[in-house]
Amino acid sequence: MNVSAAIETMVSNIDASAASYLDACVHCGQCAEACHFYENTGDVRFAPVYKLDLMRRVYKRHKDPLAGLKKLVGLVPKELTQTDLDEWSELIYDSCTLCGRCTIVCPMGIDIAGLVRKTREGMVAAGVVPEGLTGAAERALETGSPLGIKPETFRKIVAEQAEETGIAIELDKPGVDYMVILSAMEILNFYEVIGALAKIFKKAGVTWTMSTKAYEATNVGIQMGDKAVAKTLVSRVVEAAEELGVKYVVSPECGHAYSALNWEGPNLVGRSYKFQVIHILELLEQLRVEGRIPTKGKDSRRLTFHDPCQIVRRGGIVEEPRNILGQIADNFVEMSPNKEANICCGGGGGVSSNSNAEKLRLLAFGSKKRQLDEVKPDAMVTACGNCRNVMEEAIDTYEMTMPVLSITELLAEYIED
């Protein structure tokens, strides 16, 4: 384990914003109230502020503008050790989904998830990353997908969907407006979304394609905190899209994928793109407003919407899914809290691919479960393949019965034929 590399990375990660955060924190402990890992386990180590302790120590020892003076009187915290990194690995990777709910309750407005992410980068430098994530990263680099879905498999899945819907889907087609990428979970588990997209785009008259070089939106580099991996994976999408000369890349129903491509991508590759990134929810809403996707009938089930953290709270897409559901659902009901204060599914931020965290993830779902028990919906709609997969598993574990739907698929069902 390379402790000094971890310290070095964390030191270099402390910019003006991180320094302000670490300096302003008064250890008031309110963030604990926001954390579904703490709420459902009662384990005090899961208080978000405690997860930042490594970062705090590095800041106060190395970057605090008065650290030099404080060192003279022995007022700086101890240097990090191997034991610390080992101990915090659980806190940084297993018990944090980077959902960022703690920021809402923080009187100092500290972006705690952002700091956890920066700590993860230190963990990567030291080589203290859970196997589930390193494995996913290796598969992503080798095969193009963290779940090991090779281009041949992808082609086969797309072909099946084309056959099922009777709509031709042309891959690698240059000069179209939109290039769609998908999350690994969608390609493997929820491939009906491909057919749904085909149906919607056909109705709206949108020209689109998918690339066999870059069909994968999931960016495990972002989740584990490995900038090099993240950059490689983003570059694939950027290169493929620019090669095809599309105007837009459609970010799919996937939380981190949107952050990775839209918010972090340009900073990773070091330039802005020659195309624009549009989230599928934004695109659907735009088409809906333009009247290009007329719908027929409404779903009469009691539906609710689960806000994926990275798309809503940390992505800024809040009203779009509600407007879309407004058009196709008769009996829509909000969970409480919702929108930017929503409660995470428990499996974001790489937690779902981290087998060490499986038990914790199911426990953390307890908060979501309480929300659902209050509202008692017939079905839950969401816009993230990972949330969907995590919640389906948790719903099974808790012996509840409730389908979890993709908003795109649901919309496609109500498109006028």
């Binding site: 402390i14 910019d15 003006a16 914003s17 320094a19 302000s20 300096d23 302003a24 924190c25 008064v26 250890h27 008031c28 402990g29 309110q30 604990a32 109230e33 926001a34 703490y38 005090v44 180590r45 208080a47 302790d53 970057k63 605090d64 503008p65 008065l66 404080k70 960022g100 709910r101 920021t103 809402i104 309750v105 923080c106 009187p107 100092m108 407005g109 500290i110 972006d111 952002g114 839209n262 918010w263 972090e264 991508g265 340009p266 900073n267 070091g270 330039r271 802005s272 624009q276 990134v277 809503v312 709270r313 940390r314 992505g315 800024g316 809040v318 409480s336 809290p337 930017e340 204060a341």
Partner: protein
């Protein structure tokens, strides 16, 4: 030179200088670390987000006010009481007018001072009590948290002990503790009184670009 003259004279000037230069040094030092330019395309204004965030975090939103009601109440009691006493307490105003700048200023009546001090005391004690009785707080609190709380408490206690303004030694004790507090300030979490603005601001700017301020 009497002890009172010392703590209200040379030591006061040293303490005030450490406080001002230290805090300034710290703020400049933090801001100088800078941030990389964000190349992503903003959805909305970062500046607007930074401003909004300043106000948003005065009260926890999104279903939290109730869950954190204890802390919220105690926190506001302490801070409001403290600011009232500090800014409008007659002895403080007179001291500031004599030693800093003779700005015309309003002062609270004696009973107002006492009530504000009581509110501040209750708030501070409640906050500290939470620190020693809540498992989360026990886990996350460090020396700095306790030193900061105690020093502030002692400043307040010595202040209220000198309330009758009839004993020089009590005034001197209060002043000595104030000087210590000022010197401790830039080196500690007490700095949150300044850095909270930057903390909120950076988060607000970061999220403001994304079109949402959590």
């Amino acid at each position: 030179m009497s002890f009172l003259e010392f703590v209200e004279g040379p030591l006061w000037y040293v303490a005030a200088a450490v406080f001002l230069i230290g805090a300034l040094w710290k703020v400049v030092g933090i801001l100088r670390l800078g941030r990389k330019a964000d190349l992503s395309i903003p959805r909305a204004s970062a500046t607007a987000g930074a401003v909004r965030s300043q106000f948003l975090h005065f009260v926890p939103h999104g279903g939290f006010p109730f869950r954190t009601i204890y802390h919220l109440t105690a926190g506001y009691m302490f801070h409001i009481g403290l600011f009232l006493v500090l800014l409008f307490g007659a002895p403080h105003v007179i001291f500031a007018q004599n030693n800093i700048y003779a700005l015309p200023w309003v002062t609270m009546p004696y009973w107002g001072f006492v009530v504000a001090a009581q509110v501040a005391f209750a708030g501070l004690i409640l906050l500290w009590v939470r620190r020693i009785s809540d498992p989360v707080m026990i886990k996350i609190s460090d020396k700095d948290d306790h030193i900061g709380s105690w020093l502030t408490f002692l400043v307040m206690l010595s202040g209220c002990m000198a309330l009758q303004e009839s004993v020089v030694a009590l005034r001197a004790t209060h002043m000595l503790l104030v000087d210590m507090w000022l010197i401790y300030f830039p080196f500690s979490r007490l700095m949150h009184a300044v850095t909270f603005m930057f903390s909120r601001g950076y988060t607000g700017a970061f999220f403001g670009r994304r079109g949402i301020v959590p």
